[in-house]
C-alpha cells in the first residue's frame, strides 16, 4: 500500500517523539520571539523568572481584539516586608511587545490591576511580577482572538 502524504506526516510526527531524526519540528512551548524575550530581559535583567503566584484573567474567547478586558493578580500578603513592587505585561505578536508596567507598594493592600488591552491576533500574553525580595514570577497564557466578520476601512 502506498504511503499517503497524511500518513507520512503523522509518521514523521511520531518519529520526532520517539527521538529519531525530526522531520516535522514543533515549536517548543517556551519559545518566545526575540522581541518579547528582549522586552522581558529589559525588565528582569539576568534574574531567574519562576512560574507561579501570578494570575492572568482574560476572557477565554475575546470578542474583539481592539478592546480586551484583562486582570492581573498576584498572590501576596502585601505587608511592609512582603509585597509586590511591580507587574509587567507583555505580548507576543503585536507590533510592540510591551503592554503595561504597574507599580504597587504595601499600601496597595491587594496586588491586582485591571485594564483593557489590544491584541492584534491570537497570541501569548505574559505577566511578570517583581516581589519585594526582587524575585520574579510569571504566568503565560495563550489568548484566542476572534476576528470581526465585517470590518470597516479606516477613514
Amino acid at each position: 500500500m502506498p504511503t499517503t502524504r497524511r500518513q507520512f506526516l503523522s509518521l514523521a510526527g511520531s518519529a520526532t517523539v520517539a527521538g529519531t531524526i525530526p522531520i516535522v519540528t514543533l515549536r517548543p512551548l517556551e519559545a518566545t520571539p526575540a522581541m518579547l524575550t528582549a522586552a522581558i530581559r529589559n525588565v528582569v535583567g539576568e534574574a531567574q523568572i519562576r512560574t507561579g503566584k501570578v494570575k492572568l484573567d482574560i476572557p477565554p474567547l475575546v470578542e474583539n481584539g481592539n478592546t480586551v478586558p484583562m486582570t492581573v493578580s498576584v498572590a501576596s500578603p502585601m505587608t511592609a516586608n512582603d509585597y509586590v513592587k511591580s507587574i509587567h505585561v507583555f505580548n507576543e505578536k503585536n507590533p510592540q511587545p510591551n503592554i503595561g508596567n504597574f507599580h504597587l507598594n504595601p499600601s496597595s493592600g491587594r496586588a491586582q490591576v485591571s485594564t483593557r488591552i489590544r491584541l492584534a491576533d491570537t497570541q501569548k500574553v505574559v505577566a511578570i511580577a517583581r516581589l519585594s525580595d526582587d524575585t520574579f514570577w510569571q504566568v503565560a497564557t495563550e489568548i484566542v482572538v476572534t476576528l470581526a466578520a465585517c470590518t470597516e476601512e479606516m477613514n
Binding site: 481592539n66 510592540q96 504597574f102 507599580h103 499600601s107 496597595s108 493592600g109 483593557r116 479606516m154
Partner: protein, 105 residues
C-alpha cells in the same frame, strides 16, 4: 474631555478599596496608516499616577497595546480622609488631571 473616576465616598480605616478610572484618549498606536499610505503618528498616554493626600499609591506606564480611552482599576488601603489625585501624561505634551474625595471613619 471627560474622565470617569470611581472612588468610594466613604470607607472604614484599613479597608482595601478599589479605584477605577476611565479617561478619554484615542491611544493612536503609531503603527497605522491612512488610506493614502501615510503613517499616523503615535499619540498615546504614557504614564498614569494616583496620589493619596500627596503620596503616590499607584503608577502605570502605558504602551500602544493599551486600548483607546484607557481604563485602569487598582487597589489601595483607606488610611485617612482626604483627596485622591489622578494624572495622565502623554505624547505631544498631553496632560490631564482629576480628583476625588474620600471620608475615612
Amino acid at each position: 474631555m471627560a474622565a470617569l473616576i470611581n472612588v468610594p465616598a466613604k470607607a472604614k480605616r484599613g479597608d482595601i478599596i478599589e479605584i477605577r478610572t476611565l479617561t478619554s484618549h484615542i491611544m493612536e498606536t503609531g503603527f497605522r496608516h491612512t488610506a493614502d499610505g501615510q503613517l499616523v503618528p503615535r499619540d498615546i498616554i504614557t504614564s498614569f499616577t494616583c496620589r493619596y493626600n500627596g503620596t503616590e499609591v499607584f503608577r502605570a506606564d502605558l504602551f500602544p497595546a493599551i486600548a483607546a480611552n484607557p481604563y485602569l482599576s487598582f487597589f489601595t488601603i483607606a488610611k485617612e480622609s482626604g483627596k485622591f489625585e489622578f494624572e495622565w501624561i502623554g505624547d505631544n505634551g498631553y496632560s490631564s488631571t482629576a480628583s476625588a474625595s474620600i471620608t475615612v471613619e
